[in-house]
Structures are given as C-alpha cells and as structure tokens.
C-alpha cells in the first residue's frame, strides 16, 4: 500500500467529485447532497489514514512527483510534513461541516460544484512542493470563492466578491513575479530550469546565490501576496467585507483555511528560501502582527455587525500566528502553527453560530439581538462557550497556540510580545461585549420566539468545540508531529543566516551578566 498515491488522491478526490456533480440532474437535490457528504467524508477518511501513516520526524513524506510541463521545468510534486499535515486535516474537517451547515442552500448543485473545486484547490495548496504548481492552486482558490460569495452571499455581495478577487489577485501578481524570478535566476546560475521547492530553497538560501538586495525584494514579493491573504494590516479591509457577505460555509472555509494559505506560505517558501532577508525584515512583519492583534481587536469591538466582529477577530488571531512565526523560535513557530489549527476550529464555530442567527432573523445587526441565552438556551450556551474558546481561555486550544506564540516571541522580540499580550485583555473585551449585547438580558420581540438549535446544527458546532477542548488539554498529538519539521526549518534558518535561536538561559548566567 505504500505506493498508493495518497496525496494525489486528496487533491483529485474532491476534483472528481466536482465533475461528478455536473452529471447529477439539478432536480435531484438529495443526490447532490449525498454526493457532497460522500466525497468530503471520503476525503476526511483518506486524511485520517494519512495521519495514522504519518511518521513524525521523517521530513517530507508520501512524495509523488511527475512531469507536468517539462519544457518549463514544472512538475506535479506533492508531499506532506509536520508543517502542512494539520492544514490538510483542518481542510478535511471543515468541508463536511461546512456542507452540513449549508444543507438548505439554493441551487445546491452549483454550490456543491464550487465547494468541491475549492477543497481540491486548498488540498493542492498545502501539498504542492513545486512553486508553479503551488501558485496555480493558490490562485485557483480565488475562482470558487469568488463564485460562492457572489452567488450565495448576501448584502453587497458582488462588491465584496470583487474586492476579495482584486485584492488577492494583486497580491498574487507579486508572488508570481517572485516565483518566476527565482526560477530564472536559478537557471542562469545553475543551468537548468526548475520550480522544485526543495531545489530552489537549497539554492536561493545558499550564501552568494542572491545578493542581499535581490533576496529582500524577492522576499517582499512573496510577503505581499501572503500578507494580503493573512491578512495583515493594512491589507485587511477585504476580509470583513468578504466575510460579512459570504454564505456561512464560505466564511467557515475562508477564515478556517484560506487565511492560513498566507501564513503557511511564509513558513513553507518565503522564510526557507530567503532566510537572511526574513531575519532582516522580521521587524516589519512583527510590527504588522502586533498592529493586527491590537488594532484588529479594538476595531472588532466597535463593529455593529456581529459577523464583522468575528471577521476582525480573525485579523487579531492571525496576528498571533505571524508574531509566533517571525519570532523564529521553536516555541513561537509551533505556537503559530497551532494557532492556525485552533483558529480554524473556534472561528469556524463562531461563524457557524452567527450563520444560524442569520438563518433565523436574516440580520447580523447586533442591536437586533437580545436575551438569546434565555430564549434559545442551547444556542446561548454554545455561543458563550465558543466565545471563551476564541478568547483563548486555558483549556481550549486557542490558549495553547497563543501562549506558545507569545512565549516564543518573548525570547527573541520581547517588547513586541509585551504589546501583543495586551491582546488577551482586548479579546475578552470585544467578545464578552458581543456576548453581553446578544445573549444576555430579557429576550424581546422576535428574539423571544426564536427556535433553538436542531440536531443538524449541533452536529456542525459541537465537534469543532469538542476538538478545541481536547487539544486544549492534550495538544501533544499535534505538537509532537509538528516539532521535528519546525526544528528542521529553524536549523536551516540558523545555518543560512546570522539568526541565533536563543535557548532559555539558566539563571546563573543571567546573574553573572547582571553583575
């Protein structure tokens, strides 16, 4: 079974499912639904198999590689390691849940088609180890997302979809230019054209391959594309619009997985390829991360629209991820990666819950809601629990990630970490204020007559919350699989730059230094 192309299956299974969707007659929505659950659950099953077969510390594994465009040096190369594994898992978990949450959607056939295309593209993003292939998948996610927002969103959805498209497209242009530049510079230097990530990383990071100016320009070209995706301040304004007007499943996947393409890109490509530039420019990313954490939280607090509150909270959470990554310590990077997973669970759950409110009352206006804890106690209880999970209360996964990210940042970038830690206060402010305004108090008007969550809705939120709780108390299954590859990345950065990962000093040395 070892030759079974498991990663290619992960990409092609949803893609094949999308094609199959086209064959199902539109007047048979139940068949469409069955197909959707079948394909996404099967993908989840294959992912589960992958996790059990995954060997922590064995580096990039399950590699499958074939020529795609031989004259251009482009290969179909897929592989997985501890950095990408849980992004794949997160994708596989969130898609069936997103479909379950969209069981009553209009035009289910077209909807499912785009959803499955999106899943295939996302799997490709996290598995691709050829830069051009990565770029193709990276860009390809835009198309289904555009149609999902424009076709099934609400409010000013065309504006939002277009804004999303243009923004990320503009960012991607820099990425594409950067990829081509690296590829062609490599050919001029070495003599053959390749976009293999391993080869290019080894070459680009080797001393003397690139002048420091060139490396910085290329790093920034990658960084702009990834910063738009994350999104980092000031490229974040597409996010609240896209989220607010996207359908629930779109928001869940957008926040849960799409944003992580940016932070993943930093870890997989930008930092290993240009380590010295990443070290030199880390201050810039750290500043933007800290701005994201604090500014995102303050702006979130003031939003009158509950979905925008959750959207801006993503800006703050992803700030912790970037902070951890650019701390360039093992604790920080693992914390960042863990936060990527955790944010997918908790923010996914928040978007699901907010979507359920919209299903009932057709508004996201905070002022329209009141007293929901009394009117719909199951919803109220879950909303409060999810809010605390998102705040990063210890016991939930969010705490593990944020704590490690801050801890790692404190060691190398102390004052950034100190400012970022105010984020733990601010998160409590914006989320508990939202809780207070919506679920507490005496329910009035339409709120009093609302119906509580049904079994289908419970099946979407409860698993995410349960996973968050499990990982809060027992994060090792995730952390231990990430660790060797994070260490490898750091060793690479240390070897190819002047960066030194400090180990926590034993007290004695400190005292000597102090004297």
């Amino acid at each position: 079974m070892t030759d079974f192309p498991i990663l290619t299956t992960l990409v092609l299974l949803p893609a094949a499912g999308a094609l199959l969707t086209l064959l199902v007659p539109a007047r048979r929505p139940e068949l469409v639904r069955a197909l959707g659950y079948g394909v996404t659950v099967a993908t989840l099953g294959v992912t589960g198999y992958l996790v059990t077969r995954f060997e922590a510390g064995a580096g990039i594994q399950f590699v499958s590689t074939h020529w795609w465009m031989e004259t251009l040096g482009v290969r179909w190369t897929l592989g997985v390691d501890g950095v990408s594994l849980f992004m794949v898992v997160l994708t596989a978990v969130l898609f069936p849940i997103g479909l379950l949450a969209s069981a009553e959607v209009d035009r289910p056939k077209a909807f499912l088609f785009w959803v499955l295309v999106l899943e295939a593209a996302l799997m490709g993003v996290f598995l691709a180890l050829d830069l051009v292939l990565f770029f193709v998948f990276f860009e390809f996610t835009l198309v289904p997302m555009y149609f999902l927002i424009a076709g099934w969103g609400h409010g000013n959805r065309r504006y939002a979809a277009m804004k999303f498209f243009i923004f990320t497209m503009a960012g991607s242009a820099f990425l594409f230019a950067g990829i081509l530049a690296v590829g062609f510079l490599h050919r001029r230097d070495v003599g053959f054209l390749t976009f293999d990530a391993g080869v290019l990383t080894e070459w680009a990071s080797s001393p003397g391959a690139l002048s420091s100016g060139t490396a910085r320009v290329l790093f920034l070209a990658f960084a702009v594309a990834f910063a738009v995706k994350v999104p980092l301040f000031p490229f974040h304004t597409w996010l609240p619009d896209a989220h607010t007007d996207a359908p629930t499943a779109g928001s869940v996947v957008l926040a849960g997985v799409l944003l992580k393409m940016g932070t993943y890109g930093f870890l997989r490509f930008a930092i290993p390829m240009f380590p010295q530039a990443a070290v030199d420019l880390s201050w810039l990313l750290l500043v933007l991360a800290v701005v994201g954490i604090t500014y995102g939280a303050v702006v979130a607090a003031m939003q009158p629209n509950i979905k925008r509150i959750v959207a801006y909270s993503s800006v703050a959470h992803l700030g912790f991820v970037v902070l951890g990554i650019f701390a360039l310590t093992a604790e920080g990077i693992q914390g960042g990666l863990f936060t990527m997973v955790s944010h997918g669970l908790t923010t996914g759950a928040l978007f699901l819950l907010v979507g359920m409110l919209h299903d009932r009352r057709h508004t996201y206006d905070v002022a329209q809601y009141r007293g929901l804890w009394k009117a719909v106690p199951v919803f109220g209880g879950l909303f409060v629990a999810t809010a605390f999970a998102s705040i990063g209360l210890p016991g939930f996964s969010g705490f593990v990630g944020e704590f490690l990210a801050l801890l790692g940042a404190f060691v190398t970038s102390r004052w950034y970490a100190v400012v970022a830690t105010t984020g733990v206060i601010l998160a409590a402010v914006y989320l508990l204020w939202a809780v207070q305004r919506t679920v507490t108090g005496e329910p009035d008007g339409d709120n009093a007559g609302m119906r509580d969550l049904g079994p289908r809705e419970l099946c979407t939120v409860v698993p995410l919350l349960a996973l968050s709780l499990f990982l809060g108390f027992h994060p090792s299954p995730v952390l231990d699989r990430m660790e060797p590859d994070v260490d490898r990345l750091l060793e690479h950065v240390e070897a190819r730059s002047d960066h030194d990962v400090p180990s926590p000093a034993p007290g004695v040395e400190e005292a000597e230094a102090g004297r």
């Binding site: 497209m169 530049a181 510079l185 016991g395 102090g514």
Partner: protein, 673 residues
C-alpha cells in the same frame, strides 16, 4: 499502599467535582431539583474526604519529605518548553484544599436551600462544581501554567455565576466587568511566566530554587508582574472595582467565590511564588503597602454602604488587604492563617446575609431591615459570632489571625503598616457593628417598607441589586413562608452550614495560637517546610506581644462601642444615616467609593470609546479602506482609456496587475545582471 502512593492519586481531588460539573452541564436540566444539588454536594464532599486523606498521609511523612508530585502527563511541550499536568501535594496546597473543599461543601449544601425554585437550578450546581474543580487545580498545580489554568477556570466560573441571573442587565455587565478586570491582572501573570521561562527555563515550581541567582531587576520584575495578577484576582487597588459589582451573583456565590476561596488565590500565588518575593529587595514592600492601603480605603467605603452585601464586599477587599500586608512583610503563614479564618467568618457572614435576604424576600437594603433577631434567631446568632470574629474580639478566630498580622508588622519595625492596619481594624469593628445593629437590632423598618416597597425602591434607585431575582417568583409564590412580607427563618439546609461555620469561627483561631514555646502554633509549624527559606520573626518578648494583643482588642472593642452608640436604636424611619449625615460631602465621596469606578467608566465611555470609534469608523473605513479602494479606482481610471477597446472591468484590473508583475520581474532581473 504507602503515603507516597496515596498522594500520587491527588488528581482525584479535582476530578470529583470536575466529573460532577460535566454530568450536570450535560444533564442538569433533566436531573433537576433537588437531585442536581445533592450530586454536586456529594462530589465536593468526596473531594473534602480525599483532602483529609491527603492531609493525614502527608502528616505521616517526615517533614522534609512532605512534597509529593502526583501522577499525570505532559500537557504542553514545544521547543525547549515543557509543562506537566501534575499536582503538587505539600503543606501549602493541602491547607488550601482543606478549607476550599470544607467551606465549599457547606456552601454547596446551603445552596440547595437558597436556590430552591430557580429555573436554572441544575446549571447553578454545574457551575459551582466547575468552580470547585478549577480552584483545586489552581492550588494543586505543580507549575505556574497549571495554576494559571485553574486561575482562568475560576475566572470563567466567576463570570458565569455573577451573570447567573443574566436576564438582569446589571448582572450581565458585572460579570463581564469582573472577567475583563481580571484579564488586566492576567496580562501581568502571563508576562511573569514568560520572564520566568526565559530566565529559569521552566515554569515548574521546583525551578524557583534558581530565583536567588537572578539579577535584582529581573526578580523584582517577575515578582511585581505576578503581583499584578494577584491584584486582579484578589481585588486590590486599583483593580478592586469588579468585586463590589460581583455581588450581583447569588449570595452563596458571593460567599464561596468572592469571599472565602477564589479571591484569596492572589494571596496564595504570592505565597507559592515567595522565592521571587524573598529574592527581590523591594517587591515585598510594594505588596505590603498596596495591601495596607486597600485594607484602609475599602474599610472607609464600607462604613457608608447600605446594601447588606456591598458592606461585606468592601469588607472582603479590606480583609484581603491584610493578607497582602502580611505576605508583603514576609509573614506568609500569618497571611495564610488569616486566609483560613477569613474563609470561615466571611463565608458565615455572607451566608447569614443570604439567609436574611431570603427571609425578607430578596430585600438587600439595610435601611429597610431591623430587629430581625426575633424572627431569625439562628441566622442572628451565627451572624453575631461572625461579627465578633471580624471585629477582633478574643477568642474568636479573627482576633488571632488579625492580631498575628499586625504584630508581625510591628516586630519587623514596619510601624507605618501597623498603624494603617490598626486604623482599618477600628473601622472594621465599626462598620460591622453598624451592620449588625441595622439588620438584627433596633426598629423593624421592614414593616413600613412592606407597604410602600415601590416608593422605597425609587429612593434607592442607585443600588443595582434591588430588582428581585427571577427565582424570587418561586420564593413568594410558594406561599409556604407565612405572610407575604413576614421575615422567616431559613430551612435546615441553610441553617446547618451556618451553624457549622459558626463553630469553625469560634474554634478556627486555635489552629495557630501565638504560643510558640508551648507548641501551639500548629499552622506555622505545619507550613514550615514550604517557607523554610523565609526568615521567621517571633515576638521579642512576651510583654510586647501581650501589649500588642491588648491594643488590638481595645481597638476592636472601641469600634464596636462607637458603632453601638450611633446605631443602637436603628434608624429613624425614612431618616438619614447619622454617620453619613455627619460626614457630609466626605460621606458622599465614600458612598461613591472615591469616584474611582465612575472615573474609569467615564474614561472608557468617553475618550477611550471615542478613540476606538475613530479607529473603526474614521480610520479603518474612511482611511485604510478608502485608500485601498482609491488604488483600485486609479486602475479603473487608467482602464477608462482602454474601455473603447471593449475590455471588461476585471480584465482592466488584470492588465494592470500583469503590467506590474512584468515590471517587477524586469527589475529583479536587471538588478542581478
């Protein structure tokens, strides 16, 4: 099974109430009243028995071996950072779990009576059990991070229980305020952990051995950051603002969380982390003076409060100040002694207040009470025991522990601290006497209040806790309490805990009598292995000790006599409080707690709110977003010219993007040629 093996099972102690919490969260509504209450009481009771077993087991070990780490697992490991999920059983943690589970069991039992008829009866006990489990994790944790897990867990439960009657907006706001204010303290706690890890490489309590080797600035920073956490959790100035509002929660919650246990967590943290405070030359002074200032200022506010629970809330803030005063000067066992006796007498006072509120059908304003001792003899009798204890009358528990703190300040030549503490003690005796006379003696003002309740409520509109809680409907509708407004004594589930706590309040002081040579300082001896490295200061002579004790007693009696002089006859009906009238404008300042709270509220809703609104509307929408859209509009303008060539909008953008990309590639290639 030997004592070590037994103590390795310490994880069972928090596991009992945790299991109860899970059960009741999932099925609480189905289990219903009163079984849910009995399940919760049974789990915390089991925890208490396990704690007693732990105590006996630990006692059977030789003194130097009284430090056992339980079974557990690696909780969090990344890079060079590793933290275990294991519990530490030593004299300090066992002292804590004994009174937490002991007082906790009594309050669970009491709640079965108090919460009778509440529609969310099961939920209440789920939260109460979850609180107990978190508190036990907090005190039993073998490292800072596990303590922090419990620390945040009790914060969550505090939020949930303050906001328990969340239909009432004031309760919802108070819960949020408590959590957010605590988070300010958590900011300090987290930074302290980062610093400890960075400097010592581990968050394990055992790693604190290295504290002595740290630079002075580092160790002081760690100590003060931890203290910031303690200030939040234990409601010290300036983060005390959440505790008076926390009285929105049901009264058993106020007794358990906001008097006896959770709020003492800050003192516990300072005691647990004492190596940092000891190694720092100046952190202890800060702790002692913040504690002393809090003790005094909160006591001044307490003398003019009219809400029966708010008096006790400010009193709690004040008493916690004493504990910090003691910890700050290095008298840790005195701080813990007061923590234990305070848990007894303050829980007693709160539960007594709850019994009064219950008996008067949710009346909390002392101006509408009076003469209740004839209607509620058990409540009155036990409350009086609590009053004498907190006022510092020999031989009640509070006398011994407060005397110990003041004496320790004196022995260490901190006469300023002694003076402030003594002044606060005088005020304490005074305001508690006022409370006892207004509630249990004097004229029966509730009779008139019964007729014109609405009008009276209008007068006291500024008191937030006036609105009857939702369960009140069930109370009155039950009709089993005689006339609709006649006060009544509470059921046995409530009076039994009162009696038990009253006994503990009488004898509690005997766990640590100040007779060292005779071997009667049990608590100090018991805690000695934990505070081995701390200098112990004893009375220089018997006469000094005797003089100080006499002075403390005189202060207590003086406060009581003063209070009695003013309030013996109760209040003139509808009239003003004689002390508040005499204090005039000062009285108004005190009534408003120095306007501190209001000032912060104004700052938040004023300039801070305006700034946040500017960021969200003006800057983010109007600035960043518009700039970005402006760039897009620029592209569109450029595209206008090309429109005649029949290109669509998207393609215009795409063209601009491609041109930009080409330019960039060209630039990079040109540079490196």
């Amino acid at each position: 099974m030997d004592a070590h093996e037994l103590l390795e099972l310490a994880w069972l102690i928090p596991a009992f109430p945790a299991a109860g919490a899970v059960l009741l969260l999932l099925f609480g509504r189905r289990i219903g009243e009163p079984v849910a209450g009995w399940i919760a009481t049974a789990t915390i009771g089991a925890s208490f028995l396990a704690s007693v077993a732990a105590f006996v087991a630990l006692l059977s070990l030789p003194e130097e071996e009284r430090r056992v780490v339980s079974d557990g697992y690696t909780w969090l490991r990344a890079g060079g950072f590793a933290v275990d999920f294991r519990f530490l059983v030593d004299p300090l943690s066992v002292t804590m779990i004994l009174f937490v589970t002991g007082v906790g069991t009594l309050i669970h039992l009491y709640s079965i009576g108090y919460m009778h008829g509440d529609p969310r009866f099961g939920r209440f006990f789920a939260y109460l059990n979850l609180f107990a489990a978190s508190m036990l994790v907090l005190v039993l944790g073998s490292n800072f991070l596990l303590t922090f897990l419990g620390w945040e867990g009790v914060g969550l439960c505090s939020y949930l229980l303050i906001s328990f009657w969340f239909e009432r907006d004031s309760a919802a706001v108070a819960g949020k305020k408590a959590f957010v204010t605590n988070r300010v303290g958590d900011f300090g706690f987290m930074l302290a952990m980062f610093l400890i890890f960075w400097k010592l490489g581990s968050l394990d309590y055992a790693a604190m051995e290295g504290a002595g080797g740290l630079a002075q600035t580092t160790v002081t920073a760690i100590a003060l950051l931890l203290f910031l956490g303690a200030v939040g959790k234990s409601a010290q100035i300036p983060l005390h603002i959440w505790l008076p509002d926390a009285m929105e929660g049901p009264t058993p919650v106020s007794a358990l969380i906001h008097a006896a246990t959770m709020v003492t967590a800050g003192v516990f943290l300072v005691a647990r982390a004492h190596p940092f405070f000891e190694a720092s030359g100046s952190a202890g002074t800060v702790v002692a003076w913040v504690g002393a200032a809090t003790a005094l200022l909160a006591a001044t506010v307490a003398i003019v409060q009219n809400d029966i629970k708010r008096v006790l809330a400010y009193s709690t803030v004040s008493q916690l100040g004493y504990m910090f005063l003691a910890a700050g000067v290095g008298a840790y066992s005195a701080a813990l002694f007061h923590m234990v006796t305070h848990a007894f007498f303050k829980a007693l006072l709160f539960l007594g207040a709850g019994s009064v509120i219950h008996g008067l059908h949710d009346e909390q304003d002392m101006r509408r009470m009076g003469g209740l001792r004839r209607w509620m003899p058990i409540t009155a009798g036990t409350f009086i025991v609590g009053w004498l204890a907190i006022a510092g009358i020999v031989p009640f528990a509070g006398f011994w522990s407060k005397d110990e703190i003041l004496a320790q300040a004196w022995y260490r030549d901190d006469y300023g601290l002694w003076l402030v503490g003594a002044l606060a003690a005088l005020l304490t005796a005074f305001y508690m006497t006022r409370q006892v006379y207004l509630v249990f003696f004097g004229n029966e003002r509730w009779r008139e209040a019964a007729g014109g309740h609405d009008a009276a409520a209008g007068v006291a509109g500024d008191e937030p806790a006036e609105v009857a809680h939702p369960g009140a409907g069930a109370h009155s509708a039950a009709g089993a309490h005689g006339g609709p407004h006649e006060p009544h004594e509470s059921p046995w589930t409530m009076t039994v805990p009162l009696g038990a706590l009253a006994v503990l309040t009488v004898v509690g002081g005997f766990v640590n009598l100040p007779f060292v040579e005779q071997g009667l300082e049990f608590l100090g001896e018991w805690l000695h292995p934990v505070f081995e490295d701390v200098e112990v200061v004893h009375a220089p002579s018997f006469s000094t000790a005797f003089a100080l004790s006499t002075a403390a007693l005189v202060i207590g009696v003086g406060g009581i006599l003063l209070g009695r002089a003013f309030y013996r006859a109760g209040l003139p009906s509808g009239g003003e409080d004689p002390v508040a009238r005499r204090l005039g404008p000062v009285g108004r300042v005190l009534e408003n707690a120095y306007y501190f709270d209001r000032g912060i509220a104004r700052l938040v809703s004023g300039p801070l709110g305006a700034f946040a609104r500017f960021l969200a509307d003006g800057f983010d929408r109007g600035g960043v977003d518009r700039a970005v859209n402006g760039v897009a509009a620029g592209f569109r303008l450029g595209g206008e010219g090309l429109r005649r060539l029949q290109t669509g909008l998207v393609r215009n953008y795409a063209l601009g993007i491609v041109l930009g990309a080409v330019a960039l590639v060209g630039y990079v290639l040109a540079r490196s040629l």
